[in-house]
Subunit: 413 residues, 2 copies
């Protein structure tokens, strides 16, 4: 079973957009045991897309197209794929109704050019778009398949996961199961080094490392005749990874460090207040992404100025004068202060130099202190983060959440 990916979009050829869709689909198809030997990008051009469809379907069984499902004149992917198979497009009323409903919810009305997004070949299997306007579809003819997906990654990934994957799974006898293990605070090359023996000897299951968003994930994939068999193949390797990485391996599956920490807080009814300087609200925002956080999240402060640190958190003027806002002493006072103010079990604080300006030899750009107060005890942690202004803030946000997690884990012992 061979597949190819055709990314449709002149903006990709011009380099306006980074093609993350192709990578996502490659991983998913590889995990499903579907082989891939070519990936092509073409522009919003009927002639070239038709030619590419022909070449690809001469070589492979399945083509997955992303992009070109929008309402504009440049959006031609579905039309061209239908033309390739000789299928006519007709109005699919349920799709049009769903579109009108979606637009109503946003106090908008579909324009005339939106309507074509509800036209499909009657032969097509239509794929709902849970995160956007345009449904996708799967067209088949004489043993060849074209899957037509939207360009925006959030829409494409959701559609693929919920509707395409189950459809494609029926094509192969083997079952492919994967387990994703999430590691934080360890760089990808170190992770790979630490499991080199396993990487070199892998057959089934396979293991691969992926670095993304300041984390490294391990993906263990097994192929077997049933889900149970596949899981049995995965378990020993998974257990070995947990043994080797210890607390750095913070979760299994699709989750995030903020979700894991938020759950710990809610499940243990630990009230928390957050005081931020350089991270500017990102730590609060991460925790508040968790539905149900309201039971424990009391308040967050973005005390960006020295006055705000003193007035809202009770940081001492002497501390700011003698040690400065970017110091372990200040971080501890911020954490204790915000916890005291809202009478919470936990107070966490960030203070640092995000850059690009403000650094000195003694206190360089990227220097960030954390204060972590838990039930009467307060500690500080010091880091120097790499990256630009946004990068330093993002790294600091993820790291303080992980440090809180480790403190809570070790507290329970």
């Amino acid at each position: 079973m061979k597949a190819e990916i055709i990314t449709v979009g002149t903006e990709i050829l011009l380099g306006d957009i980074l093609n993350t869709n192709c990578r996502y689909l490659s991983r998913e198809l590889a995990a499903m045991g579907i082989e891939m030997y070519y990936q092509i990008t073409v522009g919003d051009n009927e002639e070239r897309l038709l030619k590419t469809l022909e070449e690809s379907l001469n070589r492979s069984d399945i083509v997955i197209c992303t992009g070109g499902l929008g309402p504009t004149e440049d959006d031609i992917t579905k039309e061209v794929c239908a033309k390739y198979f000789g299928y006519e497009l007709e109005l699919h009323k349920p799709s049009l109704d769903a579109m009108i409903e979606r637009f109503k919810h946003m106090n908008r009305v579909p324009t005339k050019n939106n309507e074509k997004q509800a036209y499909f070949p009657k032969e097509a299997y239509i794929l709902k778009n849970d995160n956007g306007t345009a449904p996708g579809c799967i067209m088949e003819k004489e043993g060849k398949m074209i899957v037509v997906l939207p360009g925006p990654p959030r829409e494409m990934e959701s559609m693929f996961e919920n509707y395409v994957k189950p459809y494609l799974s029926k094509l192969t006898d083997d079952v492919i199961e994967s387990e994703v293990l999430r590691i934080i605070g360890v760089g990808e090359s170190k992770v790979e080094n630490d499991i080199l023996d396993i990487i070199d000897s892998q057959t089934n299951p396979t293991i691969a490392t992926y670095a993304k968003g300041y984390e490294c994930t391990l993906r263990i994939t097994a192929k077997a005749k049933s889900v149970e068999e596949a899981k049995e193949l995965i378990k020993p390797m998974s257990d070995e990874m947990k043994r080797r990485f210890g607390q750095s391996l913070y979760a299994t599956g699709e989750t995030s460090i903020e979700e894991v920490v938020s759950k710990m807080l809610v499940e243990n009814n630990l009230k928390i207040a957050v005081a931020e300087s350089c991270t500017g609200g990102m730590v609060s925002a991460s925790l508040i992404n968790y539905p149900g956080i309201s039971s424990v999240f009391m308040e967050g402060c973005v005390t960006y100025s020295n006055e705000a640190k003193m007035k809202s958190l009770g940081v001492k003027k002497e501390t700011l004068d003698v040690y400065g806002a970017v110091s372990d002493k200040c971080a501890k006072e911020m954490a204790s202060g915000v916890a005291a103010r809202y009478n919470t079990n936990i107070g966490i604080a960030t203070t640092g130099i995000a850059g690009p300006d403000g650094g000195t030899d003694e206190k360089p750009v990227g220097l960030v202190y954390f204060g972590i107060y838990i039930n009467g005890k307060v500690i500080s942690k010091k880091y120097v983060f790499n990256g630009d202004r946004q990068g330093v803030r993002e790294r600091a946000t993820r790291t303080i959440l992980n440090d809180l997690r480790l403190e809570l884990l070790n507290m329970e012992k």
Copy 2:
């Protein structure tokens, strides 16, 4: 002058790596006025790479290959390209000497398999690798050109910038200039509808719409003999867009709504404080992304609970009891309250239902109120945003920044 990019590497087909090289090269080539209609990814396979080279060079004049210049058995790109042109490889002693010197600097010695990295066709123009081991090269034959570059982005980008770009610049006369216009608060299909006449009649310059991150951008691209001429072609169309979209067209070039708003605040020395509920810190974090914001950003509060709204912002208990936290009255009191607390010119506030739970018929998920206080006057705005929890919060964040921008623009009149 037409070019194609061939990315060589099985790891790309498996989705192990995100293909950033292709985007980098696309942008560079577009800026040089070199046309591109296809991009292909193939694995480390001689037969498929030969076939792809043949198809690409039948269609285009230049092929740029990245990847496969390493020392391992899988690295075959240079060998296959030479084979395609019928060129023999021979040892290039200066490259070997440079490699030995580089390894010496790292306290290492080249292994036997490194040596092939110093073999080139005598016909080739060799490209130094300032950031890695393997030089690249440019091979030409009968009007066709193959550029062979390493895979690691840092090596590839440096080699392209320093050695390939000057070589290619000599090939083209034309210059391509683009202008990006940023529109907020108008959906892509409405934008296209409003400029359909221009889209239909475009020749040079061209215009294209791109939807991304709750914004729509317009890209106007002109081709001419010089940068000045190209800019003169762009101007009339750009002026027309500004006329048609008015205040919805908020900026030109690479920027963001938060950057534009932050600049307005700093340039007008307007002190601001922010009170957030459902957005949880995202609005504060957006403003704080702007270096220099400290001159005007006093403090942010994430008043997630009713108690915090009353205690920190002075929201009246009666307001919360009678109208609820998600109401225009509460939003106004939050905005006025946070401005009063820090004695700022501006206070902005968000309160809403991000979901997935908490919605009712009267107050559905996605309902968000903004409070905007400016120098004694306070207004509220009401929206119902589409999307999941993160989507509602992101949309609300961008929208309140834009609403603040519009209030400030209209204030100046």
